[in-house]
Amino acid sequence: MSAYLKLDHIGKTFTRGSASTEVLRDIRLTIDKGEYVSIIGHSGCGKSTLLNLVAGLTQVSQGAVLLENQEVNSPGPDRAVVFQNHSLLPWLTVYENVNLAVSKVFAGRKTKAERHDWIMENLTLVQMAHATDKRPSEISGGMKQRVGIARALAMEPKILLLDEPFGALDALTRAHLQDQMMEIHARLGNTIIMITHDVDEAVLLSDRIVMMTNGPAARIGEVLDVPLPRPRHRIALASDRTYLKCREAVLKFLYERHRFVEAAE
């Protein structure tokens, strides 16, 4: 079986004027359909850059991103992104924000009534159907992030790209959204790449954890399989041997072998 998504020897170098920084070097990764993969690494190592490359928002310097054996190098709704800071359009209501995506992606494919149902279905999925007429400024950070997820899901993407989706939230809200994300993944079977800083989040949600070395010229240091059966429950897992082992492996990678070096900047 050939991989669903393949990152084929990707490198990325930013050049501004005469100065150039190599951010990523020789990234190789294959992801299967329906897999939930987390990317973890210290701040500034190039996680967002890697995600933007897959999204097509940034161009690779070397190598290629292959989705179903097709090279992708421009953004599109088949790789929906939930951005680090929700990026809802503040002048549109919750409903209109999702509608912006739905009316563009499904123009000509769904009738108006079908589009409405589809918007509501996705808002219901993230439990935001009660706030359709609110503007982003009127809802909490967790709610905004959920709407961002609904907007991305509503594009019916082949791959869902999440850039620290829960990073800016308090612990309780984060836990709640993580549970919702697991439920959505179980129900829809999406292929998901998620960036995170949070070791517990990575272990709880992922099938595999990609650990990145520090930049500049960051690489994939290690890929950890998380052989925990689903559905997973955070409380039951808190004392699970496998869970604790995975957690320890990630922590060791991050804090022993690739400690954050300020001087790297």
């Binding site: 097509g56 790789r79 002048w91 563009k104 982003p136």
Partner: protein, 297 residues
Amino acid sequence: MSLPVIKSDVVVAGPFKPRPATVVPLAAQPRRFDLRGLAIKVAQSVLPPIVVLAILLGLWQIAFSDPNSSLPPPSEVWAQSRDLIVSPFFENGDQDIGLGWRVLVSLERVAYGFGLAAIVGVLVGALIGQSVWAMRGLDPIFQVLRTVPPLAWLPLSLAAFLDSRPSAIFVIFITSIWPVIINTAVGIRNIPQDYRNVAQVLRLNHIEFFYKIMVPAAAPYIFSGLKIGVGLSWLAIVAAEMLTGGVGIGFFIWDAWNSSRLTDIIVALVYIGLVGFMLDKLVSFLGALVTRGTASN
């Protein structure tokens, strides 16, 4: 990407801040119509200007009540131009009409000139805002052109159009377009990369991007440009109507000066001031309406 600095304190007035929505508790208090509170509020905002106005009129009256003084005092304005003050909409013949009618004629001219400036200004501003180099190249030129006073454009526009009516509209247009262009361009430059990314992921085309993302995102800037522009276009009306003649309020002043009716000029000035004030408020109001929620996030 950093924004090319616009060295202007007048034209780029920053994003236009709509008032933040306030939460009104609905059932917290028994709703009683507070007549006394309302009266106090009205008195607080209406009384001071009235008092100051009365004092100023009094001073003016004292200063110019000498029969040999060069300017008429308020009492004489009232005596000689009473019809213009009390009834804005009388019609006694072709040239003898109330100032209200004249204002309407002038407003129509401003509507053409400023309307055109608004449309062209936003489109040109949007184009320029997309490109760093266009911004760098054109911005200094615009900054110079925007300081040219309306009257200075007159001869050129007459020479170009040969006819007075389009020339007048052109003068209004050319006076008011610069702040619209410059502010729109700055607004477009300031659109967060996030919004552009959203548009790219959705593969919005140029037209969709223009009216779904660019215009609403830059609306606070666009409206502060429009606000300055509408003020400038009203400033240009007297200059513009020196050309066209006819019945506009600007021409009325020119005409009154030629026949030495100073009191009429004074009344016309008050009209122009009041209408200018209302135009400004109107654009502010529209801006607040359109940009609801844009500035706050």
